[in-house]
Amino acid sequence: MMLFTLILLPLVGGVIACWSQRVHQDAPKWIASLCLLLSLAFLISIKLFTSMDPSNLWLVDETLAWIPRLNISAHFAMDGLSFVLILLTLLMGLVGLSSAWNEISQHSGFFYGNFLWTLAGIIGVFLAMDLLLFFVFWEVMLVPMYFLIAIWGNENRRYAALKFFLFTQAGGLLMLLSIVALAVLHYQQTQILSFDYQVLVQSPIDSEFAKWICLGFIIAFIVKLPAFPFHSWLPDTHTQAPTPASIILAAVLLKTGGYGLLRFVLPLFPDASQFWSPLMMGLAGISIIYGAMMAFSQTDLKRLVAYSSVSHMGFVLLGCFSLNFYALQGAVMQMLAHGVSTAALFMLVGLIQHKFHTRDLNQLGGLWSTLPKLSAMGLFFGMASLGMPGLGNFIAELLVLIGTFKQAPMFALVATSGLILAAVYSLRMIQKSFFGVSVNADENRENKTGHTSKQIITDLNAKEKITLMLMCLSLIFMGLHPQPIFNLVNGSLIEIASLFQASFQPEILLIEVQL
């Protein structure tokens, strides 16, 4: 029942937080943070106290009957990959909480309830092993997210919330059709009706439909990722979402797309993935370049970061469809590093917006003189985003490029130019916001009577400083000593890679890795 508890904790915490507003105005946030810390402690204790069996990928594996009529069970399991992603989810949940602390005052109980329910849904996505269960979590996590955007967002929030929901739902419906088709074809082939991943993965279907079923999954995942033709919801959603929702969205929700590709598409459809691989790598290449170029031309800071996400998530897509062990490692690393660095950038943008009531690059400038600490943090995470060696993003992008170069050098070449563009837009952002003429300083002097002028000057407070410092440290850790993370996920990735690389010898590599 451990994994059930892990999902139930935020779920129940959300209900309590929602209710606790009646007791005290500040109670919901304390309950939310307590609940997240508790979940975190619980997750780590699961990891510590379950004996690591090297022959078995799955740390924990639990099943309960759910819909026996169609042989659907509530099957949860956790391996290294899910573990690191859930860890990321909970940590970024804490970051989101820290940024919500002073920002959310309206209906705070309902806010923290929705916040925790979103996280519960995301954890469910990372744990579900039955395809229908996975689908349920996949869709359900959107509903509280929708509320977060539609209630606490900026001026155009309804449009953004609707767009977000419709895009992901349309993808989700295609996935539902694919899930059912997959189960039916699997029944045809083996006479076993099952929606269970671990059963389905035993005998990949060999039907002409496999390609199209696979495409249904892929579309659902790359809408979420998001990759080039389906990305247009992301900038709108990010600009309108409240900062905590932005953080969760960028840091974790997008990763569910990458996770879906790694966990379901590649192992369930080895042949079909091979078939779609060139197209997907092409889309990834376009996403990288296009996202970077769009990021360059934005003046709204949130849109800029959002487009840079499109560019970075292109590397995840590229890594997944390079069908190569190193690239897969890179994709996972990119998910983690991008999760941390983008969450931090959104948090900083949120702080800037909170202090200056604008995100427009043209109205900002010279922040370093007024807000030195915030600007220093901005510089660091901007550097991380452009792939500075020594930080997690560099390791990730390098591994993706190495892996891709082995399979398809041309795509690697295209993607590499994305790195240069990343430097261009990151530096532009840093230059225009933190350095240069301090536009606001003058304005402040003029508006000295304005009630906000006092608020503007305050730099990071202790809580924000600690949060951001910890995020810096984790990025540096990922950049300097990524091996512990790779050790966690390698088991799952070797399994996937061995489907595609016939000559691939996991034993040798494992030894090499452990050395």
Partner: protein, 473 residues
């Protein structure tokens, strides 16, 4: 007389008692209690009869499936009856006859679900339709309601005429009025003769009118909007349930879907209903009109299932699965719809979208249950609507009928837009703090019950699925 007639007998006796009671003394309480006792009695007798073996007496045929559907109908009626007292108490004019008409509708629908003969089918259909005219035109002070009543009367008469004509043509061909004989006769020949096809199409037109499928849908929005709320609720649940069951029976017995003309018509109507229903609902500003149009599209989805019966293409080797899917989807949709009308009745006729503004902050429980219901209609997981959709998709895919699926996806996405619009309106903040009227314990209990049923059956559908599976076998 077989024991199976017990529920209908109870309802008939209740009708007589109620007539007498009204003649002796007009009292709202009394009429309410008598109706309730009758409905609950019918419900429990139907429960007992659930797993009795099939029996038929030429006019009516009983099977576990028909019992389950009657049970579903009676539970919807009881739930609406519970809400009715508070609603009627606020209305002007006589109240007792409403219960009478309600019972007549129930009797008609009960008969229609088990009818096995064109004579019994037509009689029960007319009993139901004519009572509906009274129900729709019930509000004496609302001219819209009178208009809606007349509209329904005229159109329903036209539909009945079509059905009668169809029956006559089929009788001409086969010399019988029993469903089984007619349908067997019609489908036994290798291809259905053109005259029979014409007759079938006439009957289909009549039923499509009752189900408000495209292109016979033009009446539905005006009547939904004009009729008193409980009548609309009955019209959209009971009448459609009974009509759809008859439609299913004909397809199941006769295998009409094997005829390519009928197949094309059903396919066309299904796709048109899905798309047009949802498109029409897109920019409506009245929640009743939205519900009217969305019901068109929901029956469009259901129509796909009709094509799956008696096909030999089932990949899951489970010939009964389409029927299970049909019952599940139908129950899911009707339960959700009943819940929605209950909430609307409690909101005292606030049916314009702008009247719902900020409902989340003035009446949170009403808003929350309405949101859950809208998500269920949209088919979002953890609601019963999603499980219905899942059953439908599984049945469709396993029978290799793939062409409606793209339309289903498109229609669902369009549908999502206006269901979310309703939620969005309720979320928007209001400036002036409206006096939040306190809800009674009964209201709160019924709202919690709705949420519990819609989400409970959506999250743990195993029990319900087993019942359906057991019934269908």
């Amino acid at each position: 007389m077989s024991l199976h007639f017990l529920p209908a007998m109870i309802i008939s006796i209740t009708i007589l008692i109620l007539l007498l009671a009204i003649a002796l003394k007009r009292a709202h309480n009394l009429a309410y209690v008598i109706t309730g006792l009758g409905l609950i009695g019918a419900f429990f007798s139907q429960c007992i009869l659930l797993y009795l073996p099939n029996s038929s007496d030429g006019l009516f045929a009983f099977s576990p499936v028909s019992s389950l559907l009657s049970l579903l109908m009676l539970s919807i009626l009881i739930f609406l009856w519970l809400q009715l007292y508070a609603w009627l108490a606020k209305q002007k004019g006589h109240k007792e006859e409403f219960y009478l008409l309600l019972l007549l509708v129930s009797l008609g629908a009960l008969g229609m679900i088990v009818s096995e003969h064109f004579a019994s089918f037509f009689l029960t259909l007319e009993l139901m339709s004519l009572s509906f005219v009274g129900l729709i035109a019930y509000s004496q002070d609302k001219p819209v309601s009178q208009e809606a009543g007349i509209k329904y009367l005229v159109l329903s008469a036209v539909a009945s005429a079509f059905i009668l004509m169809g029956i006559a043509i089929l009788y001409l061909q086969t010399g019988s009025l029993a469903f089984e004989q007619v349908t067997n006769e019609v489908s036994s020949s290798s291809s259905i003769p053109l005259l029979s096809t014409t007759g079938i199409i006439f009957i289909l037109i009549g039923l499509f009118f009752k189900l408000s499928m495209v292109p016979c849908h033009l009446w539905v929005a005006d009547i939904f909007q004009g009729a008193p709320l409980p009548s609309t609720a009955l019209l959209s649940t009971i009448s459609k349930l009974a009509s759809f069951v008859v439609l299913w029976k004909m397809f199941n017995l006769g295998g009409w879907q094997h005829d390519h003309i009928i197949l094309e018509i059903i396919g066309l109507v299904a796709v048109a209903s899905m798309l047009i229903g949802n498109l029409l609902a897109l920019l409506q500003n009245n929640i009743l009109r939205i519900l009217a149009f969305s019901s068109i599209s929901h029956f469009g989805y259901l129509l796909i299932l009709l094509l799956l019966f008696n096909q030999d293409a089932d990949l899951l080797e489970n010939a009964e699965f389409p029927l299970e899917a049909l019952i599940f989807y139908l129950s899911a949709y009707l339960i959700t719809l009943t819940g929605t009308f209950t909430v609307l009745m409690q909101l005292e006729g606030k049916t314009k979208l702008e009247q719902l503004t900020g409902l989340f902050w003035t009446r949170p429980l009403h808003a929350a249950s309405l949101s859950v219901l809208m998500l269920s209609l949209a088919g979002i997981p953890l609601t019963i609507g999603f499980m219905g959709k899942f059953y439908l998709v599984t049945a469709t895919i396993s029978n290799q009928v793939l062409w409606p699926l793209p339309f289903l996806v498109i229609a669902s996405v369009i549908g999502l837009f206006f269901y979310l619009r309703i939620i969005m309106v309720m979320l928007s903040s209001i400036n002036q703090v409206e006096r939040s009227s306190a809800s009674t314990t009964g209201e709160r209990a019924s709202l919690w019950f709705i949420i519990a049923v819609v989400m409970g059956l959506g999250t743990f559908p195993a029990f319900f699925a087993e019942i359906i599976k057991h019934t269908v076998r």
